[in-house]
């Protein structure tokens, strides 16, 4: 199989991005204090989270596959995580 990078694979997916209301927010202060940023970065299969140069956790919410793994492993309060508004977000064509 042609080896593909994660961005390549995500590009093959179909998304309806909600530009107005991001569905994930990180409490940076709490993330820093609990040190749970690395956990978020490692657990997310879509590479939604990245470590920014200033040490904060970046969020590329448009790539999200809506599995909820990050929310399950985050220390309480670090993430504000909901499903995107109805009709928005990932739209699987295979599943």
């Amino acid at each position: 199989m042609r080896t593909t990078s994660i961005p390549d694979r995500l590009a093959a997916n179909s998304y309806v991005t909600d530009e107005e209301q991001p569905h994930i927010r990180v409490d940076q202060e709490l993330a820093r204090r609990t040190g749970c940023g690395d956990r978020l970065i490692a657990v997310c299969p879509a590479k939604v989270y990245t470590r920014e140069a200033d040490g904060t956790v970046g969020v590329e919410h448009a790539a999200c596959l809506e599995c909820g793994a990050c929310f399950a492993v985050a220390d309480p309060g670090v993430l504000e995580w909901t499903y995107p508004r109805g009709g928005f977000g990932i739209a699987f064509r295979e599943g």
Partner: protein, 431 residues
């Protein structure tokens, strides 16, 4: 009583559990709203894809002729994967074809068909609508709120999957311990149908399901799978969240490792990734099944934690069906008597646990703990691989009896005889 309900029943989530519940109730003449956050049903749903179909055939007798299924599974392949070797048990049986036992499905194609059946039976499908919370009055659930809109019903059915915010909002689920959850990472790899049939030795619409344990997860509790669809493969890993976090592994890297493994890569050769997805899996078995009934509400499918993972098979879809059937029956009776309180709906839990699926949950109650044994994921596969290597590798040393070879390899392996005996006994009891 305040406002008169808009519907007898509001079902949140048009996955398998929600559709089966809605279909049965609509068929019985109830007014049903089926609310789905995806723009179309199925667009948010993902599974490995092997559906044990007999339960669903009881709901839709012509399922196999009419529904968009991929292949009938007639071959099950269990593979123990090591870094340098793989040991497989290849089980093929015509008896699995007649009557059909399991089929592969792709949920983004399958769920729309289910939702269509609900509509034909008279349910109102509201797609592209995310339910934000349950409405309560005097402590009982009286409906749901979605944005500005409120939908009131005698009974709300939470069928919103493993993350169930609806069940959480109603106080029926709390924060789930991580060992009750696993992360599924999956790709669908397109492969021309002819090529796929040749590669997996399949005729017609027959299919194969691979269950893989060992090196595919880099030692993280869980396993890999590879299932044949009509003209594609569903391939992925299921990783226990507690172990993934404890081992600080990167889920995408584990998945890549599986795809690139020398015993997996050739099966994917020439294919093209057409979709990449992830979803949580309920892994706790019976221990995860919480409260499934409260005043004015029942919880079905993954939202209730209904999954059985034996290591060889992952089952959630057939349990979703069974819970939908049980819930529809109990909700129907509660509507008849006019008592939709917790007591009036209590029949659901009983029916669920009495069903075949419910009894299976009890049978496999010890499976999750058994599968937490670390040895399962590398040592046994490696031991077996080493024994077979000694058997087949004619390296000009004199041959020894199989028993001696096995003893010698066992001595070299980290597995102790007492582990073998203990795990063997535990396995026989748990599975």
């Amino acid at each position: 009583m305040t406002a008169e309900p808009d519907f007898d029943v509001v079902v949140v989530g048009a996955g398998i559990a929600g559709c089966v519940t809605a279909y049965r109730l609509a068929q019985a003449g109830r007014s049903v709203a089926l609310v789905e956050r995806g723009a179309v049903p199925g667009s948010k749903n993902l599974s490995g894809g092997v559906l044990y179909s007999r339960g669903l055939e009881e709901v839709f007798p012509d399922l196999l002729e009419r529904a968009p299924i991929e292949r009938r599974i007639t071959r099950n392949y269990l593979q123990l994967l090591n870094a340098e070797s793989a040991v497989g048990i290849d089980y093929q049986d015509r008896r699995l074809a007649e009557p059909v036992n399991a089929v592969t499905v792709l949920r983004a194609r399958f769920d729309p068909w289910l939702a269509e059946q609900c509509e034909e039976a008279g349910a109102d499908l509201l797609s592209g609508v995310r339910v934000d919370e349950v409405l309560r009055e005097d402590g009982r659930v009286v409906g749901v709120r979605a944005g500005e809109d409120e939908l009131r019903a005698h009974v709300v059915v939470a069928a919103d999957g493993v993350n169930s915010f609806v069940a959480r909002g109603a106080g029926l689920r709390g924060r789930e311990p991580l060992h009750h959850l696993a992360l599924g990472v999956k790709a669908v790899v397109a492969l021309p149908e002819e090529r796929l049939r040749e590669r997996f030795h399949l005729t017609g619409d027959e299919g194969v399901a691979y269950a893989v344990v060992g090196d595919c997860t880099r030692g993280v509790g869980g396993g890999g799978f590879l299932y044949t669809n009509r003209a594609s493969l569903s391939v992925g890993v299921v990783l226990r969240l507690d172990d993934l976090v404890a081992k600080r592994e990167d889920s995408a890297a584990v998945f890549d490792h599986f795809l690139a493994h020398p015993f997996v890569a050739p099966l994917l050769e020439g294919g093209e990734v057409v979709e990449y997805g992830s979803h949580l899996v309920a892994e706790g078995g019976l221990a995860m099944l919480g409260e499934v009934v409260t005043d004015g509400m029942v919880v079905v499918g993954d939202a209730a934690g209904l999954t059985i993972n034996t290591g060889l098979t992952v089952r959630g879809m057939d349990l979703a069906v069974a819970s939908g059937v049980a819930a529809a029956s109990a909700v129907g009776q509660a509507l008849d008597t006019g008592d939709t309180s917790r007591d009036g709906l209590a029949g659901y839990r009983r029916e669920l646990l009495d069903s075949t699926a419910g009894r299976d949950l009890q049978t496999y109650a010890k499976a999750p703990a058994f599968l937490e044994r670390e040895r399962m994921y590398h040592d046994y596969g490696a031991l077996l691989g080493d024994v077979l290597h000694r058997v087949y590798d004619h390296d000009l040393t004199p041959r020894r009896h199989l028993l001696d070879v096995a003893r010698a390899e066992l001595r070299r392996s980290p597995v102790r005889v007492r582990d073998l005996v203990r795990d063997g006994l535990a396995g026989v009891r748990a599975l």
